[in-house]
Structure formats: structure tokens, C-alpha cells
Symmetry: C2
DNA sequence: TGGTCTCGGGAAAGCGCTTTCCAGGGTGAA
DNA sequence: TTCACCCTGGAAAGCGCTTTCCCGAGACCA
């Protein structure tokens, strides 16, 4: 059915080898006349190379894989944009896989990408805290790397991987410090699921800043929930359920992810609690629409698109060099952005 | 380097054919004992099939491609989520390509996906109005379909494709009607780029509703701009620049995409114009955060994730049937959602 | 009991490419 | 003029898998 290279070669009156060299590049050169004839034949017949066949013959594909929790989440959307665009610039196609934040799904996805022989796998979701899950994933990735695959992580997945590392802990500390400076003392923390490493990192940053003014995390009301809008709603609902009196209420709710904070804002609005007058709210990530929310969300700015781009960049540069070179880490600064949801300083 | 099926076969003491049949499925069955032995060997050696090799031998891959303007845009993010999840359920991997809304890029992307021999291509972006661009894309897709590829479109790309068709025109008319019923008469319309078909469809819907009360589009201030936050900001800036007097100002700005409306809101906020008190604002699409904006955005609800899912579903069902069956269209209802940005009815 | 099926196994022929290896002709140096 | 190269083109050997085709062994029927 499809036009093959062989047909192009016959049409141009050359050998298969020459056609391949003329069309799809090679170390060897082809005479100008023949090359032109081959290209003309390819054009005329509408030849398109068969990528799987090329992959088999070359023992390498022109694809990479990106693993993330949920492509519809604006955090991952921005990350994916940076990754796919950088890949496209390098002539690579990107497979995007939603893991839902489930380590078992992630493991299966890694195996699928390995089977596809993608050149690189970008771990864009959070690392997991469960040692068993991490071990299984590490084992699958080790196999993949042993066969020449590159792996890079966005946020901490282990020291053995090239990593793009935004300063989650420092950012959380800086945001908390800013809130403390504004005079807030009763801070409620809505953190992410325990299974994600990033939750602990951010929580640790909050604790760091609290300690500087003689406070501890234990003194603060806390809720754990999924990194989602619904998660944020539920968490603040539980929080206010536990603390019905107006005087027990936290002065500010610090949600450790913006999509969560969006849910927090929605729930407070529904309960008729003014933000920031009744309770202030802060988030984390600075997703694209954070500044446009009602009210504009105080958060911690992360260069999301750049993180995705750097992750792919690390993977591609790894291809060229010695595969066994030590893992590199690109540290990215993050900084709190104060907006209306925490009142005017 | 990698473990091959041949190694597994040797390790299990069977032929290549038997190993293939036992591990990767086939019409033929393999005896229980042998099959178990082969599976055990595969497990022990850590065998992972080489997908490109399978693709070559089977003449079909387990991948699909999704073309969209920008994966970081929440509209396309939701669409992509529906598409990737549905594909994953069918055991397929999804390649996501950003076209930036450029027909030339789209053409190149189609060729790349064709070269990859993906099973299906989902056109998730808007169709183009330029006949030359459309012709080139149609030609590339025709080639792809001639070789058994399935093509489905979200929104109109031409009658020859299986299509998921939200009622853009009807939705725009319904929204406009609702605004007129609220008493608004001076409607400014911020529409999308002329090169996208969807712009014209939505604009036509607005015109339909205006006509019902004896108004025409020509009487209304209009701006064309990109479907982006910045586009919305710029458009409303130009609009207000042209209409400096408070009495000339539109009563409501109807942006024909939510991300645009977000920019409109931001610009009005910056200029100190109250929404909806000074100027009301409405959008289109009902992106996930539309209800959480400042103020909550009146818009037209589209089942984005479902649209992505249906598109992939159409493509997959097409595989099973006669490839030359007539194109199907799944029409999806859309409905206006009135929120605070247009005031209380 | 002979003949016809069916079933499970293996050998081998591809799938569409890339790349090695070989051959022949032209070039420059001796 | 000869030898040693280099350069370009073609033949052919794979890449790792699926699938056809063939074969022998039982099962089943008459």
C-alpha cells in the first residue's frame, strides 16, 4: 500500500542503498545528479519514510516520553509545553502519558516507553515516598538506562537521575516567611498526599520558616489532600468543620499547590467567608491563571515551562556524551509572589 | 544489548515462533506447559518487546497522534486529557504535537505522524479558512487515510472526516440571547483569528441572536485577536482606545474564547474598570478555572474532556469497520453558563 | 484399521529500512 | 606507467519481530 524506499529507488533507477543515503541522510555522500533524481522520485511518488522500520534498522527512535500526573492540570500542562516544544525543536516526537500519580501506573508506563525504545523518559510528576514503589520504578528505569535510554526528573526522584530541581523547600520557607512578616500567626497548612515527595519538601520549608519565629508545624491545623481542586475544597471543609468557632479559625490557609488553593477559594466563597478579610489564602506553583483568580492568588512562582524544557535539554545532552557521566542537577530558583489573596502587606 | 525474543526462546528451549505466540498473542494457541516456560524465561531475562520491530512486522503500531494548538492552553489540556486517557484504555500511546495554530506546522506534523504510522490522527485544533492551507492538509491526510490511517476532527475540518462537533454557532447564539435578555444592547465582540473556522462559526451565532432583536454585528464594536490571554488584553485595550468616552463604551465584552476573556478581565482590572458594574464580560469554552476567576466568568460550557474522548473513540471504532464507511458526526450540545462577570440576571 | 482432521510446534520468509562490504573508476604521487 | 588511494554506487546482510507454510502426532469417524 504505502510507497516504500524500494519503489522510489526503482523509479529513480538507483539502488536501495543510494536512495536511502540520498533521502534519509548518512555519513556517505551521494552524487548531486543522482541525489536530485532520487529526491524528485520521492516527491513524485509521495514517499514518506517508515519510522518504525528506520527505528529498527538504526536501533534508535526519534521519540521521547513524558510521564506526568494529569495533562489537564495547568501545572503539568505548562511543564508539558516546555518539554514538547524543546523536543520538537530537536526533531523528536513526544509521547505524553498520564499516570494519575499512581506508582503502579507509572511503572507500567515506563515499561511501555521502554518497549517503544524512546530516546528519553522525562519524569515530570513527583517522586514517591513509598520505598517499594520507588524500588520497582528504579529497577525498570535502570534496565532502560542500561540499554542507552536517558532519564531526567523534574523535582527529586533520586540522585541517580539528571534532575531539574526547583527549590521547593526554600520556596515554601520564603512564602511562609512573607506571611509571617505580614503578621499572620495562625497558619493552616493544606499539604499534598503523603505518597509524593514534593509534599514533604514543601512542608519542610514551611516548618523551617515557622521555626525562625519560634513556632512549629504541630501548632498549626493541617490537612492532607490530593493536589486537585476538589481536594482543596474537601480539605478546607474538614478544616472548618474541626474549627467551628470564628476565633479558632486560621488567619491564613496555605495550600501547597495552586490547584488546591483554587478549591480552597471556591469553598470559602461558597461559605461566604471573605478572602483575605475572613481568611487569607496562599498557593504554590504560580500556574498561569493564578493572577486572574478571585482574588488574585498569592503563591510561589515556578518557571514551569522552562522546567519542562530544561528536562528535555538535559536528556538530549546526555545522548551525546558518555552515558555513564555523573548525574547533573539544574537548580532553579523560585520566589513567592504576593497578591490580593493574602491582603496588602 | 537489549534482551530479544530470540534469547527468550533459546532460554526456554523453544522456537522463535512459539515464543512470539506465547508472549505477544496470536491467533494460534501454545500448549500450557510451553507457554508457562516461555513466560518464566521472559520474566527472568527481563524481556520487553521491541515495539518498532513489532510495528514493522505487524504493519501497525500501538500509537495515535493528537494535533493541537498549545498543550498549555487549558482548552486543549482538557481535550488532550480525554484523548490520552481513552487511548490508554485501548492500550495505545499518544503523541501530542503543538502546532501553534499554524497550518504549515500542522502539515509537517501530519507528515511526521504518517511516517510514524500512528493508527489515528486527531485534529484537535480549529480548521483553517485558507483554502490553500486546507487543501495541502487534506491532501496529506488523504494519503494517510489511503494507507489505513483514521482521522477524526474536533470541530469542523471538512465533511470527509469523522467529526466531534460541539454546536459552536448555537452556543454563541444562546449566550448572546441570554445577554440580550439581561438587557445588554451595546455588545463588543472580541473574536478569534480569521484563519480559524471556529471564529467564524461563533461569530455567526452571535449574529443570529442579534438578528432576532433587530440588531446586526456591524453595529457592534469588534476586535479580532489571537485566542490567548495577551490577545484578550490587547483587544480590549484597542477597543477602549477607539472608544474613549464612557458613554460609547460597550456594556458587555463578549470574548469568543475563555483564555481571551481572562485577558480582557485582567486589562479591565488594571484600568480600574469594574466588572460587571462598568463593563460586563463573557467568554466561551468553560475552561476548568472559569468559575474561579475574578469575577466568575459567564461562558459557554463545552464538554471538553468528553470531546477528546469521543474523538479517539470515533477513530478506534473506524479501525474495526469498513474503512470506507461514510464519515460520522457526533454532535455535542453546549449551553451558556451565566456567572458573576455579566451581573445577576 | 485406514483415512481425514485438527492441533501444537518449528523453519523460514519477509516487514522497510540502514549499513557494511565489495567493486570499479578516477586521481595524485612516484 | 604504475601503485595506492579515495570516492561513489550497488549487493546483501541484518535489525527483532510476526506469520505463513510445513510436518508429525493424536483424535475421530466410518
Amino acid at each position: 500500500m504505502a510507497v516504500t524506499l524500494g519503489q522510489v529507488a526503482r523509479h529513480a533507477g538507483v539502488s536501495l542503498a543510494t536512495a536511502s543515503r540520498a533521502l534519509n541522510g548518512s555519513a556517505r555522500t551521494v552524487g548531486d545528479g543522482l541525489a536530485a533524481r532520487v529526491r524528485a522520485s520521492a516527491e513524485e511518488l509521495g514517499y514518506l519514510p517508515n519510522a518504525p522500520a528506520q527505528a529498527l534498522a538504526r536501533a534508535t527512535t526519534a521519540t521521547i516520553g513524558v510521564l506526568l500526573h494529569d495533562i489537564a492540570d495547568p501545572y503539568f500542562g505548562a511543564l508539558a509545553k516546555g518539554a514538547t516544544d524543546t523536543a520538537a525543536d530537536a526533531g523528536l516526537l513526544t509521547m505524553v502519558l498520564n499516570t494519575g500519580g499512581d506508582p503502579e501506573v507509572e511503572l507500567r508506563c515506563i515499561r511501555m516507553l521502554h518497549a517503544q525504545r524512546v530516546r528519553a523518559i522525562v519524569l515530570a510528576g513527583s517522586g514517591y515516598t513509598d520505598p517499594a514503589a520507588t524500588a520497582a520504578i528504579d529497577a525498570a528505569l535502570a534496565l532502560y538506562r542500561a540499554e542507552g535510554g536517558a532519564v531526567t526528573a523534574v523535582t527529586d526522584h533520586g540522585a541517580e537521575y539528571d534532575t531539574v530541581l526547583p527549590d521547593n523547600r526554600g520556596g515554601a520557607a520564603a512564602l511562609t516567611r512573607a506571611l509571617l512578616e505580614q503578621g499572620y500567626r495562625r497558619l493552616a497548612v493544606v499539604s499534598g498526599p503523603e505518597r509524593f515527595r514534593v509534599s514533604a519538601e514543601r512542608l519542610a520549608g514551611v516548618a523551617d520558616a515557622l521555626a525562625e519565629v519560634g513556632l512549629t508545624l504541630d501548632q498549626m491545623p493541617q490537612e492532607r489532600t490530593e493536589f486537585s481542586r476538589i481536594g482543596g475544597r474537601d480539605a478546607v471543609g474538614r478544616l472548618l468543620g474541626r474549627l467551628p468557632g470564628a476565633e479558632e479559625r486560621p488567619e491564613v490557609v496555605l495550600a501547597l499547590s495552586d490547584v488546591c488553593a483554587v478549591g480552597v477559594l471556591a469553598e470559602l466563597r461558597e461559605r461566604g467567608i471573605d478572602v483575605p478579610g475572613g481568611i487569607a489564602v496562599a498557593g504554590f506553583d504560580d500556574i498561569p491563571l493564578a493572577a486572574d483568580l478571585a482574588p488574585a492568588l498569592t503563591t510561589v512562582g515556578m518557571p514551569l515551562q522552562r522546567m519542562g524544557a530544561e528536562a528535555v535539554g538535559l536528556a538530549l545532552s546526555r545522548q551525546d556524551e558518555d552515558a555513564s557521566a555523573p548525574a547533573r542537577t539544574v537548580r532553579l530558583p523560585v520566589a513567592p509572589t504576593l497578591r490580593a489573596s493574602t491582603g496588602t502587606p
